[in-house]
Symmetry: C2
Subunit: 121 residues, 2 copies
């Protein structure tokens, strides 16, 4: 038993019922994109910082001890998934979190790992 769809042992009733409940592929795709924003240390650190204040690119670079370029690239990424919004004041661009789903998701994630949900092996 190996190749795609050459599956022999299935529980047809269960499979059929679950199938009708699944989210659409498109929504799953969008969801994966959404979670990719959280799946990187640098982006998480940026969001973590923005939980507490609005910050400019330089502030973030200083805070994370990383180059302006690296921070800026990640901020563009976070802007594309609508996790941050920016406001330009003169030369300086200030970033803040776009909504509080970010805080919620980070909080639940922390709960999970604090209850032993860490990577193992």
């Amino acid at each position: 038993m190996n190749g795609k769809c050459e599956v022999t042992l299935v529980h047809p009733e269960v499979v059929q019922r679950v199938e009708s409940l699944l989210e659409s592929r498109e929504k799953i795709y969008d969801l994966a994109n959404c979670f990719k924003a959280f799946a990187d240390e640098t982006r998480l650190r940026i969001m973590n910082a923005l939980l507490y204040d609005t910050l400019c690119v330089c502030d973030l670079a200083k805070l994370l001890d990383m180059t302006q370029s690296a921070i800026s690239h990640q901020l563009q990424y976070l802007r594309q998934v609508n996790f941050v919004v920016s406001q330009k004041v003169g030369k300086v661009v200030y970033y803040r979190l776009a909504d509080d789903h970010i805080e919620q998701i980070i909080k639940v994630g922390l709960e999970h790992i604090e209850e032993g949900g860490k990577y193992e092996r």
Copy 2:
């Protein structure tokens, strides 16, 4: 202004205050690992299915129309981050979600994209 730490415009008070509030690097690392589990379509589809029932590897392969091998690899991944637990019954291995943080996180993610938080540009 370019290289690491050659930052000139910073808001020192703000940076210092935020710095004291940040999660530890270790926790951020664990958190990123945790979210990586959600950052892939296949794993999301698996978790989506397991929201509704306990399923064996064959069920999942059928449901997602993917090879047994691909599903199995991802299930091992999900087991390492403690997102699923398995139970062997004869030759068959049944998988279910380990806790309800997974459901919570998926729910908040869906809320985000349904409120316009999709990828843009």
